[in-house]
Amino acid sequence: MNALILAADDISVAQNVGFGIIAALMIFAALSVVSSKNVVHAALWLVVVLAGVAAQYILAAAEFVAVSQVLVYIGAVMVLFLFGIMLTRAQIGKEPGLNNTGWALGIPVAVVLFGLLAWVIIDQFGDDVLPDRGPTPTVLLSDQFLSIYIIPFFALAFVLLAAAIGAIVLARKD
């Protein structure tokens, strides 16, 4: 449990401060996503969470993943979500009935789950310090993709093709 004490004196303070600010913003935005009464606002808060995740990737020296996160999530997935919202509802503004009748059940489930996870994480990784590494060369990533992970790579390409065709077939009118 000395993690919190260690956090201040260990390594680069600026990194920790940046992490804390972005993390607080992300938690607030995530809570807004699951509690907003307006679907469009929830989607826009989700953009904040995804951008925060991309910023954390940069702090964790994973630049290529951060750029992919911005391209795929903020660029493509959010547009899909906004289209989905626009195509499935008529009015803009607050909408009643976004929650289930038993929505309060989710609070104890989430709190207990977080307690368990936090206990396990602090017990196992309480004192581990992340090493200060420079940016990951993208060459390393591409070497992995095209050598030992080549079969999953092709499988992934096939999955994306199947998903695109499936989405078109499902969404067609006739």
């Binding site: 938690i27 993943v65 992919s68 989905g84 929505w103 489930v109 936090a118 993709f145």
Partner: protein
């Protein structure tokens, strides 16, 4: 930076996403909560990649991003189809398959 920072942030995001999946009735909102969960897992993968110094974690994170994109595409197509057939995307009304 400490490993627990990343891991606790990811755990918090994961639990918020689980709450959203349980509490929300609108199908699009449930898909958004699933995105929160997937991003929490990606944060863990990146943190462990940084901890071990191997890039395998980043490779897995990229796979998860691609799979998530496919999942959202298919999921929203299904939501659109449900909306077209029923004029509603409330998940608790979809009970035809209940035994």
């Amino acid at each position: 930076m400490l490993a627990v920072n990343f891991l606790l942030l990811a755990a918090a995001l994961f639990c918020i996403g689980v709450y959203g999946v349980i509490a929300r009735r609108n199908a699009v909102m449930v898909l958004m909560s699933i995105e929160l969960i997937l991003n929490a897992v990606n944060l863990n993968l990146i943190a462990f990649a940084l901890m071990t110094g191997a890039v395998d974690g980043q490779v897995f994170a990229l796979y998860v991003i691609a799979i998530a994109a496919a999942e959202v595409g298919v999921g929203l197509a299904m939501v659109l189809m449900i909306y077209r057939n029923r004029k509603s995307i409330a998940l608790d009304e979809l009970s035809e398959m209940k035994g």
